[in-house]
Symmetry: C2
Subunit: 463 residues, 2 copies
C-alpha cells in the first residue's frame, strides 16, 4: 500500500466524522452582509482555526476593519516540496427569502437526491463545503503521516460574499508570509456529476448601489402627480436603458478591451456539448437573455453582463397607496471579463445614470465590489498534477472551463503576490449557491476530499 | 340673534370638545390597506356611528365584503327642505415609513405653526378631520335646535384609501335610501389659508399592480448572468418606457377622449396666480416633471398621469448580494381626466407591458382601483348656497378649482344615483395627506365647522 493509498483509506474511514464537522460549521450563520451576524462570522473563523490547529498548523485569527482572516501555516515534512496557498471563505450569502427554504437554512439537512445523499444548507457548497474538502484531505494526511506532505499556508477570509473589501490590504500587509508557488481554490464547479473540471478564467465584478432622491418627502400622487418628479419613474427610466434590443450594455465604453474568443477555444467549448436548452429548462426558462449574437458558453464565461440585483422604492405592502416616494434605489452588478477596467466601468455607469435622469434627481452611489476578470496560465506543473489527480479520482479527464462567477482574490494574488491560482472545485450547476435550498452532493464532497489528497501526492511525485 | 347665529355660538362654545372628539378618532389606526388593522377599521366606524346616534340619527353599521359602511339618517325638522347625502371615509392611508414622523402617527399632536395650532396625525385631514367638521356642524345644530335643519343621510365608508372596491355594489343595493338631492363631500382643499374653494372637477384613477416572474427560483448572477432572464432588468426596461421625452404617457390610446381646456378656463386659472415655482420649492424641487407643453394647473387638474407608486425585487438589504431574483413587481397608478375610459386604460397598460417584455417573462396583474375623472355642474342652488356660506365665513369669494386627486364616489353617485356632488373642503396644499406628519390646521377646522353650519342655513333661506 503506497502512502497515497494509506491516506485515501484514512479519509474513507473518517468520512462520517468529516461530514459531521462540515455540518457543524454550516450551523453557524456567518452572513457577512448583515451586521447582526458579526459574532457568527467570528465564530465561523474560530471553528476553522481550531480545526487547523488540531492538524499541527500554526494558526492566527487576524483582525481586519471587517471580518477577521484565518491565517495558518504548516512547514510540511518535505522541505523541497512546493509551497501552496489554500484560499477559501467562511462567510456565506444572506439566506433571505427564508420562506422559500424547505428547512431552516442554518439547520443542515441530509436529503436523498438523484446522485445519492446531499447536504442542504446556506453555505453547503459556497464555500464551507468546498473548503471542508481540503480540510478533510489535510486531516487524512495528518492522521496518516503526522504532517503535511508539502508546505501549506491557509488563508480563510470572511468577506468574500460582500466583495472582499479588506482582503487586498491584508494580502499586501502579509505578502511575505503568503509567498507560495501557487494558490489553490475550491469555489468552482465540476463539469457534471461524473466529470471533473479545472476553471481557467473568471469574470470580475463591479457592484454598485444607486440612490435617487427627489422631493424632500413622500407626496400624494393626486396632489403632485404630473408636476413633481417621481423617483421610481426616473430610476426605472434610466435603468431601463441599460441594455439595447440585442442585449448589449449601453454604457459608453463598456466593451472596451473585451477580446473575441479564438476559434480554437470556441471549438473546445463546442465539444463539451453544453445544452443551453437544458440549462435554462432546469430553472423554468426557454429563451436565452443577454447578447443575442453570442454562443451560450461565451455569454456565461467570457462576456460581460449588467444585472439589477435589487430594486426598491415607494409602497410595497398589501393593497394600494397613492404615494410619490421621496426616493428609490437599486443594486446593480456588472460581471467583467479580462481586458475591462473596473474603474472605467464605474465611471461609465455613473455617467450613464447622470445623463439618463431629469433635473431634480439627486443621485448617490455606494461601491460594493470592484475586481477585473482574468485568465489563468495552464502550462505549469500544478495544473498538470491537478489534471492527473482528477483523472485518477474520476476516471475521466477534467474539462478545462470558464467561470461566469467572480473570484476577485485570483486577480489579487496575481497582481500582489505574482502567483496564479489553481481553481479545482466540486460544485454542480444545480447546487443553487446564493439561492434557497443551496446544496452540495456528498458524492462530490467525497471526490473533492480524494482529489485534494491525490493532488498533494502528485506534487510529490513530480519532485 | 338668528338661529344661524345661535348655532354658530353653540359651535364656538363646544369647539374644544369637538377637537377632543376628532383627536380620539385619530387615535384609531384604521388603515384599510393592511389586514392587521381590520379591527381598527371596525372601531373607527363604530366611533362615528355612536356620534351620529347621539345627534338623533338612525344609524346602521352595514357589512361589506371589506370594511363596513356607516349609514345614518335624520329626517330633519323641515319636511320641505332638501335631502343631503354627506359622504366621507373613516379609513386612512398606511403610515409607513414610521421613522419619518416627528411623533407616532396615531398619537395626534397639537403643534404650533405659522397659521396657529395644527393637528399632526395620520388622517388628521384625510378624511377624519374633514368629516369631523360636518359632524361638529351637525352637533351644533342638534344642541341648539334639537334636530337637523334639513333631511340628512350620512354614508361613511372604510375603503376609500384602497379604491372603494365595495362601495359601488353598496350604493346600488341601497339606492332607494341614498336618493338625496345632492351629495356633500369634504375631502378637498381651500385655495389658501384665507381663501375658500369649491372643487368642480376630479381626476379618476386606475391603480394596477404588476408581477413579473422569470426563473423558478433565485439564481446566482455569476452562474446565470448573461443567459437567464433577469425580471428586474425586464420590469425596469418595460416601465422605463412608460413616458416619452416630453413627459407624455406612451400607452396606446392613453389620451383618447381627453379634451383640451377652454381659453376661458385657462384665463380663470391664470387669474388664481398659482406659482409652480413655490409649489415645487416647498418640497425641495425646482423643475416640473410631466408634460412639458402644458401649464402647471392643467397638469395638476385636467391632464392624466402615470406614476409608479412602488417597486420591489431582489435583494434590498445591507451590502451586496449577487442574485438574479425569480420575480419583481410594481404598483402603478394612472390619474384619469373626464373622457378617458378606465377599462380602456387597463387594457392599454396590459398590452403595453405584454409588448415590452421578453420571452419567459410571465406577467400577472391585480387591479386596485378603476374610476373615471369628471366635472361637476355648478349651476344649481346647492353650489349657490355653498358659495354664499363660504363667502360669509371667510369674507372672500371661493375659488372654483380642479382637483388632481381622485374621489371615485363622485362618479358613482352621478352614475348610480343621478346626483352631483358638492366638494367643499378645508385642507391646505401643505397638509401632507398620505405622507409622514400629515396635519390639519385648527383654523381650517373651525372655518369648516362654521361653513357647514352656514351652508345648511343658506339652504333654508333659499326655500
Amino acid at each position: 500500500m503506497t502512502v497515497t493509498e494509506q491516506v485515501l483509506a484514512t479519509a474513507s474511514a473518517s468520512f462520517e466524522t468529516d461530514i459531521t464537522r462540515w455540518l457543524n460549521w454550516l450551523r453557524i450563520p456567518s452572513v457577512s452582509a448583515q451586521p447582526q451576524h458579526n459574532a457568527d462570522c467570528i465564530a465561523a473563523a474560530d471553528f476553522a482555526a481550531r480545526e487547523l490547529a488540531a492538524m499541527g498548523f500554526t494558526v492566527e485569527i487576524l483582525p481586519t476593519p471587517g471580518q477577521p482572516v484565518v491565517l495558518a501555516h504548516h512547514a510540511g515534512s518535505n522541505p523541497s516540496a512546493p509551497h501552496l496557498l489554500y484560499y477559501g471563505h467562511y462567510d456565506v450569502q444572506p439566506a433571505e427569502p427564508f420562506e422559500l427554504w424547505t428547512a431552516p437554512p442554518f439547520e443542515p439537512q441530509i436529503v436523498e437526491g438523484p446522485h445519492g445523499p446531499r447536504v442542504v444548507a446556506r453555505g453547503a457548497v459556497d464555500d464551507k463545503g468546498q473548503v471542508a474538502t481540503w480540510l478533510a484531505a489535510f486531516r487524512a494526511w495528518f492522521d496518516t503521516t503526522g504532517s503535511m506532505p508539502v508546505q501549506i499556508t491557509v488563508l480563510l477570509e470572511g468577506e468574500e460574499e460582500i466583495g472582499s473589501p479588506n482582503l487586498e490590504p491584508f494580502i499586501v500587509a502579509h505578502r511575505a508570509r503568503l509567498g507560495a508557488d501557487i494558490a489553490v481554490i475550491s469555489d468552482t464547479n465540476q463539469w457534471d456529476i461524473d466529470t471533473p473540471a479545472l476553471t481557467t478564467s473568471v469574470r470580475g465584478m463591479v457592484y454598485m448601489e444607486v440612490h435617487l432622491k427627489a422631493a424632500s418627502r413622500d407626496l400624494h400622487s393626486g396632489m403632485y402627480g404630473g408636476s413633481a418628479l417621481n423617483p421610481i419613474n426616473a430610476l426605472t427610466a434610466a435603468l431601463g436603458q441599460l441594455h439595447d434590443a440585442a442585449g448589449r450594455v449601453r454604457i459608453n465604453g463598456f466593451y472596451d478591451g473585451v477580446a473575441d474568443v479564438s476559434d480554437a477555444q470556441k471549438a473546445a467549448w463546442q465539444a463539451l456539448g453544453f445544452s443551453e436548452h437544458d440549462f435554462l429548462g432546469e430553472i423554468g426558462l426557454t429563451t436565452p437573455a443577454g447578447e443575442s449574437d453570442r454562443t451560450a458558453l461565451e455569454r456565461l464565461w467570457v462576456r460581460p453582463t449588467a444585472d439589477i440585483n435589487g430594486i426598491w422604492g415607494g409602497y410595497q405592502g398589501a393593497g394600494s397607496k397613492t404615494v410619490i416616494a421621496a426616493e428609490a434605489g437599486a443594486k446593480i452588478s456588472f460581471r467583467l471579463v479580462p481586458g475591462q477596467s473596473p474603474s472605467h466601468i464605474i465611471a461609465g455607469f455613473k455617467h450613464f445614470m447622470d445623463s439618463h435622469v431629469p433635473p431634480d434627481a439627486k443621485l448617490s452611489y455606494v461601491e460594493h465590489a470592484c475586481a477585473p476578470g482574468l485568465e489563468i496560465d495552464t502550462n505549469n506543473r500544478f495544473v498538470t498534477a491537478a489534471r492527473s489527480a482528477l483523472e485518477a479520482e474520476f476516471g475521466r479527464k477534467p474539462a478545462m472551463i470558464g467561470c461566469g462567477g467572480s473570484i476577485p482574490v485570483v486577480e489579487g494574488f496575481r497582481r500582489v503576490l505574482g502567483i496564479d491560482s489553481l481553481m479545482m472545485g466540486f460544485g454542480l450547476g444545480d447546487d443553487k449557491p446564493h439561492s434557497p435550498d443551496e446544496k452540495f452532493e456528498i458524492a462530490c464532497f467525497r471526490h473533492g476530499v480524494n482529489s485534494h489528497i491525490r493532488f498533494l501526492s502528485d506534487l510529490l511525485d513530480i519532485k
